[in-house]
Amino acid sequence: MFYIFCPYCDEHREEEEFHPKGQAHLSRPADPDACTDEEWGNFIYFRDNPRGIHHEIWVHAIGCRKFFNVTRDTQSYEILESYRMGSAPRITQLTDKQQS
């Protein structure tokens, strides 16, 4: 079970308080009506799904109800950072130490 740092409560909390919400940093096309079916399909369905570093959204559902981002290694499940909505991740690749 994950121990997740909520950047709004400024504490680690048990995974039971959170819901995962999938890949982070996807933004809704500014003009959906101008999108082709392919572009729209890519936006709503197609994902990176990497083995390794993954930037993903979690919501502190039973807590402060805030959505935030997490950088997690999908192989080791190590959480490398939590950061607020609207900010960018600091970690974008695994260091040798983290390679596993």
Partner: protein, 1006 residues
């Protein structure tokens, strides 16, 4: 029966507490402090089971968690049966009742045994893949017989009488194992003030120190254990958990500990006490001090009762004062096991010989053996045990120095106990649970914990440090390191010294060769519980199963309830040898939770029966119960389904509720509908983006129905939202959808449109909501309010007003889900019951009738109103539902779902569309889910048009009505379709409008 293997003194048992217990129908006596296993050995019980495949007699091999054979059925009553209890881990209590889990009709004579020996050779690994195939139908029959042989113990047939619970912990340092390393680690960490949990699977803490006659600072080790535990018990930052197995190591240092609180006290737990407890621990740092398991050596007939682990023999002697035989032959690859021979001799029994597989070995241990006059046979090994129901002899032969072949001739040593030691395997199980692979170490001759991302440290034997002194000092410094890492600077505790004899290098030997090749030698068992032999593993490799995972799966090695604690390494060694490679080349050993089995109930905790899942109640729930409501589960809510009068059938009740509502007035408890309070200057803009229809011009005091779609354009919720103020709306959602909708609104607000000034809060529970519907609704309401102008022109359909109802401030919404004149009264929930009851006081004269969800469904269906989640399934968009009126295409902002419903497949012809369905025979009510076809006589697969989503008998219309989806249905009005039912009938029906009653909507506008 007397305990003739029991010593008169010594051991940690309490001879003043004589306990009686039952095994296999016989009564025996033991002492407090015994395990079931030690008590059986004390009573000289040799055969405790039969092996599952070859049905050979089996005895007790080990003294703790690694025991493969002594696996029993416990329980004095049906409800307290427990299958597969390891006798070596079950403390004895008075009145304990146990049964072997295998062997029928009796352990001593077992005709499966005969069958086994005759057909044994017919059962190589994987034999079942190779036969039982013909004829095709026959497997079912074969399988019945195979299944008869399956399983060890049996499940109870009655529900559990005991309870189980959970306890959540957060700790700085969790120490697993209270042996020498764990105890000294605990001292270091505890003294630094860290929060420490020390867990150990045994009843008494101390681990190997209790099993040996080691001395610390020249005092019995047990004294240091006692002093240490007393000190630890004094710290309020320390939690000592005996009888508690750390059985799972999960991500981010979350571990589960299975504590057996009452299993040592009796058949069932005392009142108000949970039988077992699962501790859910989040640890800053974990110290694994799990020790090591001794490896038996693999040789012919090594499963005969009387063949035991050397260390187990010592444990029984030192801890339980039980000597499990009279004449011992000890075979070893290392010095450490010599102690067993010494213990045996000190217990006054005869040591026939120590058979040491090492040809050239001289040192303190050999000298001590010589001093004691014990014969040591060097460079030799026991290649096979002799005997029937118990060992009677050991066949000893010389070995080549590499141990790969036998050399020279054999001699038979008479004995009744054959102890063996192939060295020690660190207990790396927990460190494997989080995916870390253990690594082989040639010096340790075993696997050590591998690289991990967990905050984990290892101390003592699990780290390959077997000498007692090393364990103590290693533990002390690792404990200090863990505490320091957790923020409590610590010094290693000073630990006593145990001047143990120096040991010379052990020999890496696992499977003892035989004159014959393994395929023809007497069975050499690697995994006792699954009856896997060395020959079986060689056969697997011969057949091409070369990955250790293939070998395990093909032979079932390691798949027993002991998870191969004894056998895995020996098995890998056999495989490696037959594949001509090293053990690390052959693979690694992986373990998964649980370390030892955990009761389902303990994992479920109190989340069972009445507490399995919350039941959500409205403020009027008590009234519903009192008035005989039948309830429907909607999400976690208990909603009144219908209110039968005595003697009424469900249909009669529904007819009555429907008619009363249409003819006079009915009332529904609508409190469970989700309600979301929306405030902020951008609330209106947000609604415009979240709903498919227009919200820009909805004036204060008005309500509007809206549809919500996901980005794919498919409807996922709907409801009425009211404008409370220019910056204030209250949204209603479906009962089941409430939480999802709120989270969905927040998602868009927080991730996509944070610039919009709006706040969302749930007010679902705050308001009690009662809907009065029917021609007399206004009259009834008028009797209960004096400050709301109910005039039909001043308080119009889709208006809301604030005022007082039955003396309680209320918000009244004139909205209708029934098509009747209808008012939805909202009052603060604390007053809901009062207002509800007042309604009935005044409503009697109007025959005010409470109705439930089923009547609500019928009434709305008569009007063709959809229920999201019943008439929709995530694959229909508003146009499919014929609700284009609820979609405003030309809103400036491209609302959620707009683009999605324009995709190629969403605009094609012939989509399934929602229509009304009228059966030709008005008395037939189509089953919901029934599928429409054009040609019922079409051969299968029959092309389907769509299914019935809602179907009822309408008392008001005197006929059945239904809604359903039909391919291209909107252009097929009047067409006839057929519904082939599962009972064989085919029902003819006509496609029609979804609105069956009052198409102009006059009834609600009176």
């Amino acid at each position: 029966m007397t305990q003739f293997n029991r010593l008169d003194n010594g051991g940690r048992i309490d001879r003043s507490k004589l306990l009686s217990f039952e095994f296999n129908g016989q009564r025996y006596k033991g002492f407090a402090g015994d395990t079931l296993a030690s008590a059986l050995l004390a009573n000289g019980v040799d055969v405790i089971g039969r092996s599952f495949k070859y049905s050979r007699p089996r005895g007790i091999v080990a003294a703790s968690a690694e025991e493969p054979n002594a696996v029993f059925q416990l329980g004095a009553t049906e409800a307290t049966q427990v299958p597969n209890v390891r006798a070596t881990q079950q403390e004895l209590f008075d009145g304990l009742v146990s049964q072997p889990t295998s062997g029928w009709p009796s352990l001593s004579f077992d005709f499966m045994g005969v069958f086994g020996t005759l057909l044994g050779r017919m059962l190589p690994p994987g034999f079942y893949y190779k036969t039982f195939m013909f004829p095709q139908a026959a497997w079912d029959t074969y399988e019945k017989y195979i299944r008869k042989a399956a399983g060890l113990g049996r499940s109870p047939r009655e529900p559990d009488v005991d309870t189980y619970d959970h306890l959540n912990h957060h700790t700085d340092v969790l120490i697993v194992g209270a042996g020498p390393s764990g105890l000294s680690a605990a001292l270091s960490a505890a003294r630094a003030g860290a929060r420490v949990i020390l867990a150990d699977e045994q009843a008494e803490m101390g681990g190997s120190l209790l099993d040996s006659n080691d001395r610390l600072d020249d005092k019995p080790a047990a004294e240091w254990v006692k002093a240490t535990l007393e000190e630890l018990a004094r710290y309020d930052n320390v939690l000592l958990l005996p009888r508690a197995t750390v059985n799972g190591y999960h991500d981010h240092n979350f571990l589960t500990i299975h504590e057996r609180r009452t299993d040592h006290r009796g058949d069932r737990a005392p009142a108000n006490l949970s039988r077992q407890r699962l501790h859910r621990v989040r640890a800053k740092w974990v110290v694994l001090a799990t020790g090591a398991h001794e490896r038996p050596l693999v040789y012919g007939n090594n499963d005969l009762p009387g063949c035991m682990l050397a260390s187990a023999v010592s444990t029984y002697i030192n801890r339980y004062a039980v000597v499990p035989g009279s004449r011992l032959v000890l075979m070893t690859t290392n010095d450490n096991a010599y102690r067993t021979a010494f213990d045996w001799q000190d217990a006054g029994r005869e040591v026939v010989a120590i058979v040491d597989t090492r040809a050239y070995v001289t040192g303190a241990w050999q000298e001590e053996a010589e001093r004691r006059g014990i014969k040591v046979l060097k460079g030799k090994a026991v290649i096979e045990a002799r005997g029937g129901q118990r060992v009677t002899g050991a066949l000893v032969t010389g070995l080549t120095t590499d141990g790969n072949k036998v050399a020279g001739d054999s001699q038979l040593l008479r004995c009744d106990t054959l102890a063996s030691s192939g060295g020690w395997s660190p207990v790396v199980h927990l460190s494997c649970h989080t995916g870390s692979r253990p690594v082989w170490d040639d010096d340790v001759i075993g696997f050590l914990p591998g690289k991990t991302v967990q905050r984990q440290l290892v101390a003592g034997a699990v780290n390959g440090r077997f000498a007692l002194d090393d364990c103590l000092t290693d533990g002390a410094s690792i404990g200090a390191e863990a505490a320091t890492n957790a923020g409590f600077p610590a010094e290693p505790a000073i630990v006593p010294s145990a001047r143990t004899r120096p040991e010379t290098r052990a020999m890496a030997l696992f499977c003892i060769p035989h004159h014959k090749r393994n395929s023809r030698a007497p069975k050499q068992f690697v995994d006792f519980q699954t009856d896997v032999t060395a020959a079986a593993i060689e056969l697997a490799t011969r057949e091409g199963f070369e990955s250790i995972e293939h070998i395990k799966r093909y032979t079932a090695m390691g798949f027993g309830t002991d998870q191969g604690k004894l056998g895995n390494i020996n098995g890998m060694a056999v495989a490696a040898k037959s594949l001509n490679q090293t053990i690390p080349q052959t693979g690694t050993t992986i373990f998964r939770p649980n370390y030892t089995p955990v009761t389902f109930g303990a994992i479920a905790g109190r989340h069972c029966n009445d507490l399995f899942d919350p039941m959500r109640y409205s403020a009027m729930h008590e009234w519903h119960v009192k008035h005989g409501a039948k309830f429907e589960d909607v999400g976690q809510w208990k909603r009144p389904w219908y209110f039968p009068k005595p003697g009424e059938t469900m249909q009669q009740a529904l007819d009555r509720e429907c008619l009363a509502t249409r003819e006079s007035v009915g009332v529904l408890d609508a409190s469970t509908l989700g309600k979301i309070d929306i405030q902020g200057k951008d609330a209106r803009e947000f609604l415009g983006r979240a709903y498919t229809n227009a919200w820009a011009k909805l004036p204060v005091g008005k309500c509007r129905y809206g549809l919500m779609c996901k980005e794919d354009g498919m409807v996922f919720d709907d409801g009425v939202t009211s404008c409370m103020g220019e910056n204030h709306f209250v949204m209603t959602t479906t009962t089941g959808g409430a939480a999802g909708v709120l989270e969905w609104l927040e998602l868009y607000h927080q991730t996509e449109w944070p610039e919009l000034e709006v706040y969302f809060n749930t007010v679902t529970d705050h308001w009690a909501t009662m809907t009065i519907a029917g021609p007399n609704a206004r009259k009834l309401l008028a009797e209960l309010t004096d400050d709301i102008d109910l005039d039909k022109d001043n308080f119009k359909f889709m208006d809301w007003r604030q005022g007082t109802v039955a003396g309680v401030p209320a918000r009244v919404f004139r909205i209708s889900f029934t098509g009747e004149l209808s008012y939805e009264i909202n009052v603060q929930a604390n007053y809901g019951l009062h207002v509800w009851e007042k309604l009935f006081e005044h409503g009697a004269k109007y025959n005010l009738t409470p109705y439930g969800t089923e009547t609500m469904h019928i009434l709305r269906a008569e009007k063709g109103f959809i229920i999201s989640g019943q008439d929709t399934d995530g694959s229909v968009h508003p146009y499919d539902l014929g609700m284009s009126w609820a979609v405003k295409e030309d809103k400036p902002f491209s609302f959620i779902g707009k683009r999605g419903m324009k995709r190629e497949d969403c605009v094609r012809e012939n989509r399934k569309q929602l229509v009304g369905i009228k059966t030709k025979d008005p008395s037939i009510v189509l089953p919901e889910g029934a599928q429409a076809v054009d040609d019922p006589n079409h051969p299968v697969p029959v092309p389907m048009l769509g299914h019935i989503t809602s179907s009822y008998y309408s008392a008001c219309l005197g006929r059945s009505i239904a809604m359903g989806v039909i391919k291209g249905g909107h252009n097929r009005m009047g067409d006839t379709v057929h519904y082939p039912l599962t009972d064989g009938r085919v029902v003819e029906a006509e496609i029609c409008s979804t609105i069956f009653l009052d198409p102009k909507g006059e009834r609600q506008n009176v």
